[in-house]
Amino acid sequence: MRNSLIDLKIIATKIRIDIIKMLNKAGSGHSGGSLSCVEILVALFWEKIKRTPENALSPDRDRFILSKGHGVPALYAVLAHRGVIPYEEIFTLRKINSRLQGHPSRLDLPYVEASTGSLGQGLSIAQGIAIAGKIDGKKYRVYCLLGDGEMQEGQVWEAIMSAPKFKLDNLCAIVDYNKGQIDGYVKDVMDIEPLSDKLRAFNWNVIEIDGHDFEQILSALDEAELVKGKPTFIIAHTVKGKGVSFMEDNHEWHGKAPNDEETKLALKELEEELNELLSQKVEVK
């Protein structure tokens, strides 16, 4: 049974609020790409992976590899809201002696599954886990979230070439296509289009969606489970900095954290959004 869409939206907004607070407290970090992938992570962790403290390291768990490691504030917040790490810990992000490194470190926090942050590597790792699942006849699925700028890395295309060879229908890649990277728009820096044509030509099942629309995300994840004999690539169109008006579609916010004033403004917007959602939920009841 699915959480109602309004509940998922409430969770997503709470995650965004925490991301802003974490980044502000850390004083550095990647705002735009953390905010753009929130709905994707919430859909996965609440509806598909259903991560709990009990299954967090179980051999049969569904895996999630954050190949775009700089989006890790979103993952830490999700892990806290799922009870896998203590909530208070998320505010140690990027601090000395914290398990919450600036980019995911499996050495420090095994729940991140792999150390990432040097772009281009996560899909290969996800593929290895998927192959092992096939060898062992396991039912788990492997999800990998990539950045759009990351699609410029050569290793990504090596993995895109190989996963269909091994018929990895237990593997689902998702690209957080927020259109921006550090030096500007992806289309200007190094265009990755026509992306869906390229992925289809490499023999992937390709689904293109609005990456902020829970119905579309969930239906794409459902379809990915049904497609047999080949891996699925979900192209999720998103907005960089989603949810905070002055961060949206502004690549200045790729690798920047909000100062106290900006944090106040951002939280005001997100809390208004949260209250609106909570009032809608009451009305539904």
């Binding site: 051999p59 470190s105 499996r106 050495l107 599954e113 792999a114 150390s115 990432t116 942050g117 040097s118 281009g120 590597q121 899909l123 290969s124 790792i125 996800a126 593929q127 290895g128 886990i129 998927a130 192959i131 092992a132 699942g133 060898i135 062992d136 050569g154 290793q155 090596e158 993995a159 070439m161 190989s162 091994f166």
Partner: protein, 307 residues
């Protein structure tokens, strides 16, 4: 027993271990006939993954297999593996994935193919990564035992192997001990530390030096990391002078590793014998003569060092 390349011994060992250890999986990047992973591939086709000429994806895939409980051996030429250093650094070392990287075609000893195929900087790079162990066996029996040890050892390992056949160095009752150097010949004037394909030549050099009245101790360092600090210091104390021999660049290789131990613990004079520039084409024999890694070249360098 005829001379045998350590890559061949590795291929045989892996096939034998594949029977006993079901979690072993093997990946190769279109070089299975050269790395000798083909023996495993033929015997266990469902546990062998041909990744094509795409080494970084092979290494990352091996990391994923390890994270899911498999024991992956990812094989290619040593130089092609370290060419994907960033993937090794992140996906294997920093992820602490239990991956066994097998780099064959070590050193100028490969011969005619020339520098582009020679692993000459791999020890330096792999040694620098926390979590990684670096092993280079010197003959058939040592390779087979090292491969078994590595398969059961928890943690990433870089195994460095030769293309060219190597003469037997160790006795039939040899027991491989990870992290421990092996004294092959005792002596009191100088200690020669050697690793991999040049251990046998170092032993022959030691015999030549004996005829010149120089008593040389010859030690095989098969585990370059973690290195046998205790034995290195002991040899420095007992023989005073130290020589290192390796088919690898002298920057960052065995010579550097030995000097690091000595500089911090018991500084003595050290002479490093190895490669100082790019390699080149030629027969292995010609190359070893030209670069001073044949028995006479090693003996000559030791004689000059002791003058």
């Amino acid at each position: 027993m005829p001379a045998k390349a350590t890559r061949v011994s590795f291929g045989e060992a892996l096939e034998e271990l594949g029977e006993r250890i079901q979690d072993i999986v093997v990946l190769d990047a279109d070089l299975s006939k050269s790395t000798m992973s083909i023996k495993f591939a033929k015997r266990f086709p469902h546990r062998f993954f041909e990744m094509g000429i795409a080494e970084q994806n092979m290494i990352g895939t091996a990391a994923g297999l390890a994270l899911a409980g498999k024991i992956p051996f990812a094989c290619s030429f040593a130089c092609f593996l370290i060419g994907r250093y960033e993937t090794i650094r992140m996906s294997v070392a920093y992820t602490n994935a239990n991956v066994k990287l097998v780099g064959t075609h070590a050193g100028i000893g490969i011969g005619e193919d020339g520098y582009s195929q020679m692993g000459l900087e791999d020890i330096a790079l792999m040694r620098a990564l926390p979590n990684f162990s670096v092993v280079q066996p010197c003959d058939d029996i040592e390779t087979k035992q090292a491969v078994e040890y590595i398969a059961l050892h928890q943690g990433p390992v870089f195994l460095r192997l030769t293309r060219q056949p190597l003469e037997e160095v160790n006795p039939p009752d040899y027991k491989f001990q990870f992290g421990k150097g092996v004294i092959l010949k005792d002596g009191k004037d100088v200690t020669i530390f050697a690793t991999g394909g040049v251990v046998f030549n170092s032993l022959l050099a030691g015999e030549r030096l004996e005829r010149d009245g120089i008593s040389a101790r010859v030690v095989n360092i098969h585990t370059i990391k973690p290195i046998d600090e205790e034995l290195i210091i002991k040899c420095a104390v007992e023989t005073g002078k130290i020589v290192t021999v390796e088919d690898h660049n002298i920057v960052g290789g065995l010579g550097s590793a030995v000097m690091e131990v000595l500089a911090e613990n018991y500084p003595v004079k050290v002479k490093r014998i190895g490669i100082k520039k790019f390699g080149e084409s030629g027969s292995p024999k010609e190359l070893y003569e030209k670069y001073g890694l044949d028995p006479e070249g090693i003996a000559k360098a030791v004689r000059e060092f002791l003058k």
